[in-house]
Amino acid sequence: MADPMKIRANAVGDATEVKVLMNHEMETGQRKDAQGKTVPAWFIQNVTAAWNGKTVLSAQWGPAISKNPFLSFKFKGGAKGDKVQVTWVDNKGETRTDEATIA
């Protein structure tokens, strides 16, 4: 099972700034192991973020994103105490959802 994300959400004026660190290998499918065998691609494909159940960000990712990705974004709205949920799904179908409270 994938390790948790680290999410920080801060109210900045009338917007919310969200910073997310994700635990993921993000294998490109281009790399070879010590035996010379290609390491299969394994990467996050979809990322969604929701504020109080409403989607505020939806992204499609590929193998060009680094290992242990860092994502920072802002959305209009959000108040201290509201919940922000982030979900990723990778190309193996594994998924992880974590939640943070807006500070």
């Binding site: 390790d3 948790p4 660190l21």
Partner: protein, 269 residues
């Protein structure tokens, strides 16, 4: 929480400002800009979070957590402990760095065998290291704290002197010592700046920015790893994890960094 954060940010800003002032030429400036861009969102935080959980988790034959582990400031006191390590521990009557102290606590508090407690000190893609995670969290609790390693105990003084001798020890087919690359100011290998660890400012800059998340490896690396991989490039045999020489060398370098604000876990290329 906010004051810790602020201290951490100040520490990072300090760490950036120093090399930026030294940087000459556009290549170095470009590399510096890249390093700066990495500062926001250091994945080391993922290791810190896992380490904090591991510290509190009951495990081992004694089903105990590490929460009573004494890092030198009393059982369970983590805040600021790393800034005074390595140190002499009376209960073990020897000098220990953080990694060896963690092994000691895992053996004595959690009842693990020494072999189990030492297993997997350096993680890779398929094997996460619990020691790296614990070190990430414990060191993060010293961010912004002034380095204050004491040589008052005779064994600390002796370890410092031994560490110094090891630092200058030349051997192997290339005649390399630690001092070969880290004994002069303002030098670099290819485009990589080398801190002069025999000078106070160099030792402070070098020592206080480990552990670090290495972007090129996608791993958080501890000071034990740093020493291990330096000796590999020195063409020496492998430095064993937690070995006496590794602790002596760490004592020498940590003491030379005294007076600086601890600034890790950092992020490096």
């Amino acid at each position: 929480m906010t004051s810790t954060m602020r201290a951490a940010i100040a520490a990072i800003a300090f760490a950036i400002a120093a090399p930026a002032a030294l940087a000459q030429g556009s290549t170095e400036k470009g590399i510096e800009a890249y390093r700066q861009a990495l500062q926001d969102g250091n994945p080391a935080e993922l290791w810190e979070a896992r380490g904090e959980d591991l510290w509190k988790k009951r495990t081992g034959p004694k089903n105990a957590s590490l929460e009573k582990c004494d890092l030198g400031l009393g059982p369970g006191v983590v805040k600021g402990a790393y800034a005074q390590m390595p140190r002499h521990f009376a209960d073990a009557d020897r000098v220990m760095d953080l990694e060896t102290r963690l092994v000691w606590c895992r053996v004595n508090l959690q009842g693990m065998s020494e072999a189990d407690a030492k297993r997997g000190p350096f993680g890779g893609p398929d094997r996460k290291s619990d020691i790296e995670a614990l070190v990430a969290w414990i060191t993060s609790e010293s961010k912004g704290v002034t380095m204050a390693v004491s040589l008052d105990h005779p064994k600390m003084r002796e370890n410092f002197e031994l560490g110094k001798a090891i630092f200058f020890f030349r051997g192997g087919p290339h005649d390399f010592a630690c001092a070969t690359c880290h004994g002069e100011d303002g030098k670099r290998i290819r485009l990589q700046d080398l801190p002069n660890l025999t000078a106070k400012s160099g030792a402070q800059k070098g020592y206080t920015t480990w552990p670090a998340y290495r972007v090129s490896q996608g791993e958080l690396r501890t000071f034990q790893w740093r020493l291990n991989d330096c000796f590999r490039q020195q063409r020496f045999p492998e430095l064993e994890f937690g070995s006496p020489a590794s602790i002596a060398l760490t004592t020498f370098l940590a003491y030379n960094a005294n007076g600086a604000a601890f600034a890790a876990p950092a992020i490096k290329r």
